[in-house]
């Protein structure tokens, strides 16, 4: 039986193997995802993003608890950074979600970013499709710990949750132009540490500066390690899903998402082609080797590569 067929029958190993093919950028993954595409599009995609150590994994663990109590199945994709020097990684998100390991309704996959920028791994979209076809009701994507510019999650998910911690007051001010804008829901985690109310007011003030949006992102307080705030967070996520589905632009979001996915595929392919030409036995590569001091014109080289890459 093909991997795709086994996956559809609920074979967890087939799912895991298909994910590896996608991670390894194996052309077979393209075939599998294509074969499974008719079975996708049903899941609610929830993104969890925020600074390193803000409690994203702990919140996923808490959400799993709440979602499972409601009988829905979940797939989790947790991305951690890879070392840019060795390509290796210690993927530590799963350790926070231990209590769900033996629950068949929960599938957790750790991914290394493997050099991909934007807070996700290059294969994240494929993995989402695979989990979707596998029949998961909810798919949660945890990004690497982000700064201000890793916004890709906003183009991958239906609902994006931004996790902040108390005292990130200054951070709130400075990042509002970037990452604050992709948040459909704000969470101030580690509310047990105090100062969360103040942070909430700062976010509220920052948002009040702009025009009132159709969806006003709620600001919730949680204490993930104390199992507090999970129900309220899940209710907010479901409210956002209802809003999107009932005229709030779910179609549009998914159309934008498709465009972004196509763009990403084109970019990846183009970069791959260009890299092969730069490193292979091509006229451009030969000229680069003959001019090792890096004085050639990059624009001319790029134009030449793109002309050839077609």
């Amino acid at each position: 039986m093909s991997l795709a067929a086994s996956l559809l029958q609920g074979d967890v190993r087939a799912l895991a193997k298909a994910i590896s093919l996608a991670e390894d950028r194996d052309p077979e993954a393209t075939q599998i995802v294509t074969e499974l595409q008719p079975q996708t599009g049903r899941a609610h995609l929830v993104g969890i993003t925020g600074a390193p150590g803000s409690g994203k994994s702990s919140l996923v663990d808490l959400l799993l608890q709440v979602i499972r109590q409601r009988g829905k199945t979940v797939g989790v994709v947790a991305v951690d950074p890879s070392s840019p020097f060795t390509g290796g990684a210690v993927l530590g998100d799963r350790i926070r979600m231990q209590r769900h390991t033996l629950d068949k309704g929960v599938f957790i996959r750790s991914m290394g970013a493997r050099g991909h920028l934007g807070g996700l791994a290059a294969a994240t979209r494929e993995v989402i499709h695979l989990l979707d076809a596998y029949g998961r009701d909810v798919i949660i994507v945890e990004t690497v710990g982000v700064g201000q510019s890793e916004l890709e999650i906003g183009t991958v998910c239906d609902t994006t949750v931004l996790v902040l911690v108390p005292e990130s007051g200054d951070a709130v001010q400075s990042i509002k132009a970037g990452i604050m804008e992709i948040a459909d829901i704000f969470v101030i985690n580690k509310a047990d540490l105090g100062g969360a109310e103040k942070t909430r007011r700062l976010i509220q003030d920052a948002m009040a500066l702009g025009p009132a949006p159709a969806w006003a992102p709620p600001i919730l307080l949680t204490a993930a390690i104390k199992d507090q705030g999970g129900v309220e967070l899940w209710q907010a996520i479901e409210r956002h899903w209802e809003y999107l589905s009932q005229g709030g632009g779910l179609q549009d979001r998914r159309l934008q998402r498709l465009k972004q996915e196509v763009l990403a595929l084109v970019a990846e392919q183009a970069r791959d082609d260009a890299r092969q030409q730069l490193e292979g036995d091509t006229p451009v590569a030969r000229r680069l080797r003959q001019n090792p001091n890096g004085t050639l014109n990059p624009y001319a080289l790029a134009a030449e590569l793109m002309g050839r890459a077609r």
Binding site: V12, P84, G87, G88, V90, L91, R94, R109, A122, E268
Partner: protein, 149 residues
Amino acid sequence: MSTASRPSSKPAPRTEPASQKKIRVLTLKLGLDGHDRGVKVVSRALRDAGVEVIYAGLRQTPEMAVEAAIQEDVDGIGVSILSGAHMTLIPRVLELLKERGAGDIVVFAGGIIPDDEAAELKTLGVAEIFGPGTSLATIVDFVNSRLRK
């Protein structure tokens, strides 16, 4: 990629080629055993050798280890045991892997395991056992040679 330690002067970050197979390893502590220094050192060394390590941490049961290994589609499970419970817990991992049709996942171990018991575990299917004082380079070499696809 096959050296355990990072060169003292940092190289420029590499641009990763798009197509790339990586070795993935699950490391964990089986049973009630708080000695986690060894497994952390080993996990770190494997990372520095370019391996993707999923560290599952303390108090894992054989059932949890096997389920995580399957979901993460790892090439190997690195078990750390310094508590003395290896003769009951490690064979159970091997058994469950076979039951799940995942007998191809390589199991290797480290910690305090007497030689005669290590020999017995190896006849049961454990690929290698690394006792105290094993150099990290030895472990990295093992993973690179036995787990590369």
